[in-house]
């Protein structure tokens, strides 16, 4: 169990982490998300007593990190795969870490085998690819078979097989009851492996909870409708205040359809029934974790690029959206409006 309370870290006039509080529970993979410069790495360094926080605490099973004796048995951390001397070989890199906590060379060799680096163990780290360094870093995490695992961007530089491997490892570790905190920019990966999320922006906590709750709270929701009488349904929905976007047929002759923001699928189904309209599709849709993340952190991005859409040529007219356009206003009319608008 990790308990972070009121963590604040300033660099000069810049507040990198601002009164951050969250819990990381055992037996679950907790994703640590935030835009670039949001303070994720600084937070992790503060938690591990590498950076000295201006205020606040981080407790590992009730103890600050710098009071833990031989912490490799308690907490395994990989903050940056580059934290290795390029002139030292991989095995010696692990030996120097392991020996400081009284871990044997035999366990070093086991860890190297676990991450698939046995054949490269005698090569200098400077010759390793980024993916190999990530594996070496993960081997150092696994040395003491710790109860808590903290990883900062562990999938950086890994190929698809490596990314899947690290996901499986983390899920396996959580399955053993370990506490796993992992930051990553690969939101699709995070969606697959994380149970809980801690989302920060500009050093502040934005949201925390389960992935499902976070997506439900922050991602856009809409209903996809396909019907031979789609024009009639669309008109009635618009008159009820719904935001309606026409869909194309995908070039494969699909029934004409719309995406609707506002009313629920039940409400739309009842409206169609009252109008004796045939429905070929009526499905609630929900944005991805990526959508939810971008929505949640929209106001908390330190570095933000101009949207390429802003500089792109104008979109062709007509029903081309497969999903709702990103700038649509949220729908908030009462359901009775739709019901009234649907009256014959």
């Amino acid at each position: 169990m990790i308990e972070v309370r009121g963590l604040t870290k300033r660099f000069g006039r810049t507040t990198a982490v601002n009164d951050l509080s969250f819990d990381v529970r055992p037996g679950r993979v907790t994703g640590f998300l935030g835009p670039n410069g949001s303070g994720k790495s600084t937070s992790m360094r503060c938690m591990l007593a590498l950076d000295r926080p201006d205020s606040g605490t981080a407790m590992f099973d009730g103890r600050p990190y710098d009071t833990i004796h031989d912490p490799l048995f308690e907490v395994g951390a990989l903050l940056d795969a580059g934290y290795a001397h390029p002139g030292r070989n991989g095995r010696n890199h692990l030996r120097m870490i392991a020996s400081s906590n009284g871990i044997s060379d035999t366990r070093v060799d086991e860890a190297l085998a676990l991450v698939g680096l046995t054949d490269a163990a005698k090569r200098r780290v400077g010759t390793y690819s980024l993916g190999m360094r990530q594996r070496l870093g993960l081997a150092s995490v696994l040395l003491g078979d710790p109860k808590v695992v903290i990883l900062d961007e562990p999938a950086n530089g890994l190929d698809p097989e490596g990314i899947r491997w690290i996901r499986d490892v983390l899920v396996h570790l959580a399955g053993q009851g370990k506490t796993v905190l992992v930051s990553s920019h690969l939101l699709s990966e995070m969606a697959q492996m994380a149970d809980d999320l801690v989302v920060i922006g500009l050093g502040r906590l934005i949201d925390t909870g389960t992935v499902a709750d976070f997506v439900a709270r922050n991602a856009r929701h809409w209903v996809r409708v396909r019907s031979p009488q789609i024009a009639q349904i669309a008109d009635q929905l618009r008159s009820g205040g719904a935001t309606v976007t026409m869909l194309d047929d995908g070039g494969i002759g699909l029934t004409p359809g719309i995406d609707v923001i506002g009313p629920t699928a039940i409400e739309i189904g009842e409206l169609a029934a009252r109008n004796s309209a045939i429905l070929h599709e009526l499905s609630p849709q929900q944005g991805s974790l990526e959508d939810a993340f971008l929505e949640a952190t929209a106001g908390a991005q330190e570095y933000r690029s101009t949207s390429p859409v802003d500089n792109a040529p104008p979109a062709p007219s007509g029903p081309v959206y497969a999903t709702p356009p990103p700038q649509q206003p949220p729908f908030a009319p009462p359901a009775t409006n739709l019901t009234n608008g649907g009256q014959p």
């Binding site: 360094r45 590498l50 000295r52 990190y65 710098d66 912490p71 934290y83 020996s99 400081s100 150092s140």
Partner: protein, 248 residues
């Protein structure tokens, strides 16, 4: 503490640059002394001066061992392995003292070994050429003092590294200290009317430890050693204090 010492020992002997510097530090006095022993036309005189020649040429060794001591610490910062180190053992003072201990012990053993080898080679050659190598008590004291000086310079480099945390800057200051800084201070003190400024210059003063024949007015070996020793300890203590509070 045993685990920490082992870890630091692994670090020290698994980086190539330490071997390169060690080979240079060993080769320089050995080559010079062998050449002197072979080529000096007066074998008797060379035999008598052999301890002084050994300690004199090994001043380069001492400086290089100071560089190793500095790099032992600063390379951890330049490669960010200090974060790996402090994450594995968050009690920083213990880590830094273990690192200093290993660095000092390795330096003392290495310096004593190289000095013994250099002296033995010179003695074998000169004795074969008819000389008589039999060091006096003060010469033996100077040879012991040289080993201690190597240890102090190693710790000086380490202490400077703790404070500066940057390899080029630390090495530059370590080398410029005796070559430039103390020369400037000596000139200033002389201009100010100080007859013998050596006792006021920590490095120059500490050289007395490795000098077989002390000049009148020079500080004693022990006093000279204590002067530099206190400065080294102050640097190390300040460095440890700073590193306890700084971000890694």
């Amino acid at each position: 503490m045993t685990h920490l010492l082992r870890s630091e020992w692994i670090k020290l002997r698994t980086v190539r640059v330490n071997y390169v510097l060690g080979i240079i530090a060993a080769a320089f006095p050995i080559v010079i002394i062998v050449l002197v022993a072979l080529l000096n036309s007066d074998a008797d005189s060379a035999a008598h001066d052999l301890p002084g020649a050994v300690t004199g040429t090994m001043l380069v060794t001492a400086l290089l061992l100071g560089v190793v001591g500095a790099l032992n610490l600063t390379s951890e910062y330049s490669h960010n392995t200090i974060r790996t180190t402090f994450a594995a053992v968050p009690q920083r003072t213990r880590v830094l003292l273990a690192k200093a201990s290993v660095s000092l012990a390795a330096t003392l053993v290495f310096a004593a070994l190289i000095e013994a080898i250099t002296f033995a080679l010179g003695a074998v050659i000169l004795n074969a050429r008819g000389g008589d190598v039999s060091p006096t008590g003060t010469q033996k004291a100077a040879m012991l003092g040289l080993v201690v000086l190597c240890g102090m310079l190693s710790l000086l480099g380490y202490g400077l590294g703790l404070i500066i945390r940057n390899s080029p800057a630390t090495v530059a200051i370590l080398i410029l200290w005796p070559l430039l800084l103390e020369s400037i201070v000596r000139a200033v003190l002389t201009a100010a009317g100080v007859d013998n400024p050596t006792p006021w210059l920590p490095y120059q003063s500490a050289l007395q430890m490795a000098k077989p024949d002390l000049d009148p007015g020079d500080p004693s070996r022990i006093r000279a050693g204590l002067f530099l020793g206190v400065i080294v300890i102050v640097f190390v203590v300040i460095g440890v204090f700073i590193n306890e509070r700084r971000d890694a």
